[in-house]
Every structure is written in structure tokens, then in C-alpha cells.
């Protein structure tokens, strides 16, 4: 069996910690500034309009919300599926998922036409709306994962970890189903209206969340100077490979189903062949950068064992994920609604036209600030709670670890960050 690995706080007094705090803080302030600018002038100063009603903020927000659910993977695998090796990483996994959700929701709320009326969204409910369900799913997620973290971190409560973990696992499945259904239930839009959107979003959440988790681990352990062994990297690599392959499978099935129905040929031709930026983002961004190349990196004998390759692969998955959101959200709106099938349609209101969208700086900054919100939360919480394992070295982690002849005891590595 593995040794018990201590979870420790980070000191949070180094210039590196404060540097990150200032960096994320600046991005968040810039995001708030963007919101003020958009709300003060009205949304005409953005690239969004009556045709493309959801823009860049939604790309980032939905990406973060989807990734949030996936970031819980490691905790779920440990608590629900009984893989004890992941246990030391479970609290970080839970923290990251809460943080990512907070970042995504913040962006979503700050882009509302009337963000000052957020209280209305809390007091008026239309229970037929998937959005209204999601308000419950999101707030419930905070509570459940919060309790789950408590069960994990408080020794007296440890025995409830499995139950809390199971509830959190089921809840996150519901949450991503809800997020995917935001699009899946839009009957009129050619690109959406598919039940497969929900399971596809779940599998995407697995991949995106894990990719972010991998990067957060890598960078924090490098900066902290805490050891990180090959074992934990390879385990995560194996998981990411499976998730990516499954994601590509779902994307293929989604498009093949659409291609079979003549009714959907128009939108498929648009996304897959003639959509310009959307076609490029689909094939190069979503499929190549977000799927094929990382898979090759993680399978090819020359790179599959490399940690740098894994880091690059994880980063590419995130880039691919944002491209995928752009293609799904913006591309789905760029293709016009079909009101009159078989007719050539024109009007002063852009009927029958491919709609254009040029994101403005304010929108992009607001979107990126969601990532900063998520990361700053992690940064602050790891200072005050014992979240990060003291070591991820093979000696501590790998159940089959064989002590090399020359090796320092590295459980209490010096803290440098």
C-alpha cells in the first residue's frame, strides 16, 4: 500500500505567490473594467448583435463551467471508484472544480444585459427553463463539493468521504448534462437540437477538466519545488488519452448523424467545409490541436513517456476546447435559422445570411478574466487550507515503487514559492 501523504498549505509569502496574485488580480480588474464599459454603453460596443447573441464571454464561460465538472474527475476516481492512489490529489481536484465554476459563472453573469438584476434570477424562477435548473445545479454544486472537501479535509469526517464523493459525482454529471442541454434543447437551431450534445459535453468536460488539472499540478509543483514523480504523470496521461479518444468518437457520431439527414446538410457543409474561420477552428483547433496531436503525443513511443509532451498535450486540449466552444456557440449562431426551407431568403434583418461576428477586446478580456478568477481562488485557498500533497514523488505515490539505491527522502521537500 501507499504511504500516507501529508497535505500541506503553501506559505503564500513569496514574491512568486504575490506576483501571481497581482497578475490574476490585474486580469480580473481588466475584466471588471470591460464589464463596466459594455454595460455602460450597451452591448453595441461588443461584437455581439441581434444575430450572434452569445459571443466570446459565453465561449469562455461555458468552457470553464464544462471544465469545472471535469476537474472533479480525480476526486471522483479516488472516492467513488476506490482508486486510493488519487486520494492525496482529491482535495485539489475538488477545489479546482469549484474555482473553475465560479470563474465561468462570473463571466456569464457579468455579460448579462442587466447584471444588476442578478437578484431577480434568484427570486423569479421558471421551472421549465434549463437555465433555471442550472442555477440550482450550479449553486448545488458549490454546496455539495464544498461539503465533500470538508469530509476529505476533516479527519473526523473522513468516513463520509465516499458518500459525499458519490453525491458530488452524480451531481456533476447532472450539471454537465444541464450545460449541454442549454444547446441540445434549442429545437430551432440547425447546429444544436441534438440529444447527443449532453453526453458529448460530459465527455468533453472529462478531457478539459483533466487537462487543466494536469497543468495546475505541474506548474504549482514546479514553482513550489515539490517533487512530482513519473507515476502520477503516467496515470493522468492514460486517463487523458481515453477521454480524448472518447471525445473524438462523440464528435464523429454527432456530425455523422447530422450528415445522414439531408435537412442538416447545409449547416454541416458550413461547419465542415465552407465556414471560413469556423471550418478552420473546427479542423485545426478542435480536431487537430484539441484531439489528434495530443493523442499522438501521448501514444507515440518517442513522446508518450515525456512529461513535457504531456504538458504540451494538456495545453493543446485546452486550446482545442476553447476552439470547440467557439465553433459550437458562435458557429451555431452564424449559420442562419431556416424559416423557409428551399427558399432563397433575404431581408434587412440578415435573414438567410451567414452572420458575421468580430469579437472586441472587451469581450475577450472579460472571458479571460474568468480563468483568472478561477486561478486566483485556487491560489488563495491553497494558502489557507491544507490542499496540496507535500509530495507527488514516486516514492510516495507509486504502490509498486522500488527504492533506488541513491535517493534522498524527499517527503519534506523545501518550500520555495
Amino acid at each position: 500500500m501507499t504511504k500516507k501523504i501529508a497535505l500541506t498549505q503553501v506559505e503564500g509569502r513569496s514574491s512568486g505567490w504575490y506576483g501571481l496574485l497581482v497578475l490574476f488580480g490585474t486580469v480580473i480588474l481588466a475584466g471588471l473594467g470591460s464589464t463596466w464599459y459594455m454595460e455602460h454603453n450597451g452591448h453595441w460596443v461588443t461584437g455581439m448583435n441581434n444575430q450572434i447573441v452569445w459571443g466570446m464571454p459565453h465561449v469562455f464561460a461555458v468552457f470553464l463551467i464544462v471544465a469545472a465538472s471535469g476537474a472533479l474527475n480525480v476526486a471522483s476516481i479516488s472516492s467513488v471508484f476506490g482508486r486510493n492512489v488519487y486520494k492525496p490529489l482529491a482535495p485539489l481536484s475538488a477545489l479546482l472544480s469549484i474555482s473553475l465554476l465560479a470563474g465561468g459563472l462570473a463571466v456569464l453573469v457579468l455579460d448579462l444585459g442587466r447584471p444588476d438584476r442578478l437578484i431577480v434570477a434568484m427570486t423569479h424562477y421558471n421551472f421549465k427553463s434549463i437555465f433555471a435548473w442550472n442555477i440550482y445545479l450550479y449553486t448545488g454544486f458549490f454546496v455539495i463539493v464544498g461539503v465533500y472537501m470538508w469530509m476529505m479535509l476533516e479527519k473526523k469526517m473522513n468516513r463520509h468521504t465516499k458518500t459525499a464523493g458519490l453525491v458530488a459525482f452524480l451531481w456533476r454529471l447532472a450539471l454537465t448534462t444541464g450545460t449541454g442541454s442549454i444547446f441540445g434543447f434549442l429545437v430551432a437551431r440547425q447546429a444544436y437540437d441534438a440529444a447527443i450534445m449532453a453526453p458529448m459535453f460530459i465527455i468533453m468536460s472529462f478531457a478539459y477538466g483533466l487537462a487543466i488539472f494536469i497543468l495546475v499540478i505541474k506548474f504549482s509543483y514546479t514553482w513550489l519545488g515539490r517533487p512530482i514523480g513519473a507515476y502520477v504523470c503516467l496515470r493522468q496521461r492514460n486517463l487523458l488519452r481515453v477521454f480524448l479518444a472518447a471525445m473524438l468518437y462523440f464528435v464523429a457520431v454527432y456530425h455523422l448523424t447530422n450528415l445522414y439527414a439531408t435537412e442538416h446538410h447545409g449547416v454541416e457543409r458550413f461547419i465542415l467545409l465552407e465556414g471560413g474561420i469556423f471550418t478552420a477552428l473546427f479542423w485545426i483547433g478542435q480536431i487537430m490541436i484539441g484531439g489528434i496531436i495530443p493523442l499522438v503525443l501521448m501514444f507515440h513511443p518517442a513522446t508518450s513517456e515525456s512529461r513535457i509532451a504531456l504538458r504540451i498535450a494538456a495545453f493543446m486540449v485546452i486550446i482545442g476546447g476553447i476552439c470547440q466552444m467557439y465553433v459550437t456557440i458562435i458557429g451555431g449562431q452564424a449559420y442562419p435559422l431556416v424559416l423557409f426551407p428551399g427558399m432563397e431568403v433575404s431581408s434587412s434583418f440578415f435573414d438567410g445570411q451567414i452572420n458575421s461576428y468580430t469579437p472586441t477586446l472587451a469581450e475577450i478580456v472579460l472571458g479571460v478574466s474568468g480563468i483568472a478568477i478561477a486561478l486566483v481562488l485556487v491560489l488563495i485557498v491553497v494558502k489557507f487550507l491544507k490542499i496540496l500533497p507535500a509530495s507527488l514523488a514516486d516514492s510516495a505515490f507509486d504502490p509498486n515503487y522500488v527504492e533506488p539505491v541513491i535517493h534522498p527522502t524527499d517527503d519534506e521537500a523545501p518550500e520555495t514559492a
Binding site: W36, E39, H40, D116
Partner: protein, 156 residues
Amino acid sequence: MRRTAAFLRLLGAALAAVMLMASVPASANDGVPMPQLAKPKGEKCVEPTDYMRRNHMDLLKHQRDETMHKGIRTKKYSWKGCVECHAATHPDIAEGKVPTLYPFCAQCHHYAAVQIDCIQCHTTVPESVMKSSKAEGEADKLMTMMKGHLGETEQR
């Protein structure tokens, strides 16, 4: 932040209401001059003045839902009705030509630092005035000014 601001506004409103009821004239050490409310049209309001001072927002909100969702368009507590009687001219606004809500609603709300959400969407010029085409053009220009007066920009 916003919640704090809202709380302060509420506090300000409560204070202002107390001061209004006591109808204390502006004292020398009072930073902001007391609002000098314009005299509305007609003999009396739809309810006694004291009641209106405390409850006008609730009456408006109730009527708003009745009208919006059920199409009940009784005049008594309607926003349009308020504007019709309470809009008055003011020498500082449109050279005193167009009646608006500034001399009545806005002054007091300004004093009490309570945002009037209504006028972000509703016009503050009476319907009877809006019907004359001359005033309509004027009203356009007015809205810009009015929104400034009513502190819309303070909200964000």
C-alpha cells in the same frame, strides 16, 4: 460593493422619508438642499400624501404586474397616471417648456439617493405632451438630460 451601495441608498431613503414627514426646512449645516417639490396637477393624489410617500413604490409595482401580465389598465395607480399629474416644467429643463418628472420625482430621489429604475425604460414626459409632435423631438433631447439628472450613471 453593490449590496453596500444598495444598503446605503435604503438608509438614505429612510432618513429622507423621516425628514420629509417632519417637513423640516433645510438647515444651515445640511450639505444638500432639501428638495422643493413642484405642485402636481389636481386637488389631491390617489391616496393621502403620507401614505403615498411611504408606499408609492409598492403601488406602482403591484400595478406594473397587473398591467404587464394581465392587461389590467386601470388608471388609478398607473405609471402613466403618475407622470400625467406629477410632471411639471422647470426653468432648468428645456427652458421650462416641457413638463418632466424632474421637479417632483427626481429631485427627491436624488436627495434620498434612491435609483429610479422605472425611468431606464419608461418615458418621463406625459402622454398628453408626447402626442404633440413638437414636444416629441424635444423629449428625445430631454431623455438624455433627464437620465443624467436621475442619476442613471451612478448605478454602475
